[in-house]
């Protein structure tokens, strides 16, 4: 119980709803704090006391294994009491459940609520109805800020810095909140960002978000420092967007041959869960250039940093 992080960084806002609106100082502050937690997480004694007495609720309207367990572990390692709630209800009643659930939970006086919801903007809506801090763990195709932060931490620890790197984001950009949060964060920190996807999986106006758009994966991977693969979200696909996973893998799946077009020291990332053989070949996913396991480790540290940085704003009386 003796360990304390040394950085005094605190976020200047009550909620973390997205990367949009964070300054480079905010992001670097969170990453510096995360670095300290990485070291603590590698010790035998991992338990801190900075959130002792605090209540953290994980409210998931969409099934999740890794994000939910990552937040749970992060909260517990900081000493908070953690409660997990999975709310799976009929599609028609989901929205109604959202605000009712918000009011119910608010009455229990939690200090932090982590929310994932299938609709864009739902977490912000919920945040308007509660008095505690809210952390967005993914809302529709909008944002997933802690994923972008853990990706940034992983890159920074492996490449030393983020500015001037060429980062290529490949795959289902249309349905991806991870892509949106990463595009905003990487631009804020001065990276050069490219997206690679079939045009049916690119949202309209994506180039206005500060990315180069490529349809040819080999072209897009040229001289890349980081290759971020996205999961093909087949469950969200309504209508004909790609003809088959076989054709998709042929043109947009990352295999060893395509990876050769990137820099020799390029590193490969994936937010998980992976569709092996659809967007990424196992040889690459498990290969020497893969950072996928490290991303998971960084996830716990980043979430500890976010909880800590928000909790420092909470009233102490």
């Amino acid at each position: 119980m003796d360990a304390r992080s040394t950085s005094a960084f605190a976020l200047g806002q009550r909620h973390l709803l997205g990367i949009e609106g964070l300054s480079a100082e905010d992001i670097n502050g969170l990453l510096d704090l995360s670095d300290e937690f990485v070291a603590i997480n590698r010790r035998v004694e991992k338990k801190l006391a900075s959130l002792r007495g605090r209540t953290l609720i994980n409210l998931f309207f969409e099934a999740s294994t890794r994000t939910q367990s990552s937040f749970e572990l992060a909260g517990k390692r900081l000493g908070a009491d953690v409660m997990n709630m999975s709310v799976i209800s009929s599609a028609m009643r989901k929205g109604e459940t959202l605000l009712d659930t918000a009011a119910t939970l608010n009455a229990m006086h939690p200090d932090l609520i982590v929310v994932r919801h299938h609709a864009s903007g739902a977490v912000e809506l919920l945040a308007q109805k509660v008095e505690c801090s809210v952390i967005n763990a993914g809302d529709g195709a909008h944002e997933h800020p802690t994923q972008a932060l853990l990706d940034a931490l992983t890159i920074r620890r492996n490449k030393g810095a983020i500015d001037r790197l060429t980062v290529v984001i490949c795959g289902d950009i249309l349905h991806s909140r991870v892509a949106r949060s990463n595009i905003i964060l990487l631009n804020t920190l001065g990276a050069r960002v490219r997206v690679v996807a079939p045009t049916t999986l690119l949202p309209s106006g994506i180039e206005r978000l500060g990315v180069e758009v490529h349809r040819d994966m080999r072209e897009g991977l040229r001289d890349a420092d980081i290759v971020m693969m996205l999961r093909l979200q087949r469950e969200r696909m309504n209508g004909s967007l790609i003809p088959s996973t076989r054709e998709y893998f042929h043109y947009y799946g990352l295999d060893a041959a395509k990876l050769k077009f990137a820099k020799p020291d390029a590193l490969v990332m994936h937010p998980g869960p992976m569709n092996r053989g659809v967007e990424i070949d196992s040889v690459v996913a498990d290969g020497a250039q893969s950072l996928i396991q490290e991303q998971v480790e960084m996830g716990v540290a980043v979430r500890m940093a976010v909880l800590e940085a928000l909790a420092r704003n909470l009233p102490n009386a």
Binding site: E20, K94, G95, E96, L98, L99, H117, A119, S120, G121, A122, E124, L125, D139, G140, A141, H142, E143, R177, R180, P203, S204, G205, I206, R208, L209, N238, G239
Partner: protein, 434 residues
């Protein structure tokens, strides 16, 4: 029809605006027996009938009451959203003296008995004229033509499937052809439902930033082009219910130049707002068709000025809290508008885009013409549906004060300039702002 008040009223010292005669002058308007007797300079000096109520307008505008071609009223079946009575209170406060209600009720207005029900209920409970459009297809299902002849005889002023498009081109062609025999006006919502898909706002950068699925402008233009091909085959009277983008205006311009009997309206929302007003997922700004970009809004205003788009509608659509306090993608579309259409329209006059004559033409005179109604003018003999408004008084909209049963306005806390001070329907003052 509402019973007329026979007592004479003189609206003196007014700015008389009558688009039907291209008239914008200082003068008086005399009303008696439920009709306009005279509008000219200094009627008062020439002598008025004994017992005339003289109202000094202090230079405020006197204009024909507004005629709103598209407002949803939930009677029968959705009275919690709006009744004929509550809609008429909102309309009166907004200077709308004739409301055309939509057939998407429960049951839908696709039967002459339902037309009759609405007309009787309106006569007994409403303080402005309310006339129904009837369904174009049975049950608004887009499969079989409704009884256009009987419905028109019962009092339906036009035919529409409301916010649904008739996707089957064969059915739509037959509806247009059949409507010709009864000289019926067909009003059509132009959106291809497959191209709309799961979209919830205008397709483009802003939707992408919000992580929302977009609706392409082509969804509207594709359907409008199809319709106009069919109109060319049938010579039916066709009215596009709500056009929103510059591409559609080009299509309309070509059709009008080719001499087709085509008209169109635009909603006050699309003339005053753009997609950026959605802000951080404001569901009151979720509309169907969606708000477009600023370039489209500007083009739409220009099209009103030029007459490519004929009429301005409120597209009044009351939605309660249960269907609006939801994540954006799950919320119902629609905004109320009867009470704010004129003040918001005056923004376009104050910023120099439209003359007051043009605005009143699009809000009153032109829709009355399209529907074959007697109002929309201050000519002697016209019904005494008249409004008085101060075009320059500033105020801030508080949605709690609105008269509709729902408060889903797209203009909450908006700064507005100009408001209605008196609404007269059939010679009777039904609303007064004090």
């Amino acid at each position: 029809m509402l019973r007329a008040d026979t007592r004479p009223i003189l609206l003196a010292n007014a700015r008389v605006v009558d688009p039907a005669r291209d008239l914008d002058v200082t003068g008086d308007v005399l009303i008696a027996d439920g009709v306009i007797k005279d509008s000219a300079k200094n009627i008062r000096a020439a002598g008025v009938p004994e017992g005339t109520e003289v109202i000094d307008c202090h230079g405020c505008v006197v204009a024909p009451g507004l005629v709103d071609m598209r407002a949803f009223i939930g009677e029968p079946g959705a009275e919690h959203r709006e009744t004929l009575a509550s809609a008429s209170q909102a309309a009166a406060a907004g200077g709308v003296t004739t409301v055309i209600c939509q057939p998407a009720t429960d049951p839908p207005i696709d039967d002459p008995a339902t037309v009759d029900f609405v007309l009787r209920r309106a006569r007994d409970t409403a303080i402005v004229h309310i006339l129904p459009m009837a369904a174009l297809t049975k049950g608004l299902e887009g499969n079989e033509i409704a009884e256009i002849g009987l419905l028109k005889a019962a009092g339906a002023v036009a035919f529409t499937d409301g916010t649904k498009s008739v996707m089957n081109a064969q059915v739509f062609r037959r509806a247009l052809t059949y409507a010709c025999d009864f000289d019926a006006l067909i009003v059509h919502h132009t959106e291809d439902v497959n191209l709309v898909g799961d979209g919830v706002m205008n397709e483009g950068e802003f939707a992408t930033r919000l992580g929302l699925l977009g609706i392409p402008k082509a969804a509207e233009t594709v359907m409008l082009e199809r319709d106009l091909r069919l109109v060319a085959m049938t010579e039916a009277r066709y009215h596009a219910a709500s056009v929103t983008c510059a591409e559609s205006l080009e299509v309309l311009r070509r059709a009008k130049e080719a001499g087709l009997t085509v008209t169109a309206s635009a909603t006050i929302n699309h003339l005053a707002l753009n997609e950026n007003d959605v802000g951080s997922y404001r569901t009151f700004l979720k509309l169907s068709p969606p708000l477009r970009g600023e370039a489209d809004r500007v083009a739409l205003v220009a099209a009103i000025k030029e007459g490519i788009v004929d009429a301005i509608i409120s597209d009044h659509d009351p939605q309660d809290v249960e269907v609006k306090r939801l994540p954006f993608a799950e919320a119902a579309p629609g905004a109320i508008g009867l009470e704010t259409m004129l003040p918001v329209g005056l923004r376009l006059v104050h910023d120099g885009s439209l003359t007051l004559l043009k605005l009143i033409h699009a809000l009153s005179t032109r829709p009355a013409e399209l529907l074959g109604l007697p109002g929309g003018t201050l000519k002697a003999g016209a019904p005494a549906d008249v409004i008085l408004f101060d075009p320059d008084v500033p105020w801030v909209l508080d949605r709690a004060t609105l008269k509709s049963r729902c408060n889903n306005t797209a203009f909450d806390e908006a700064r507005l300039t100009g408001r209605v001070t008196r609404t007269i329907v059939a010679g009777r003052t039904v609303y007064e702002y004090v």
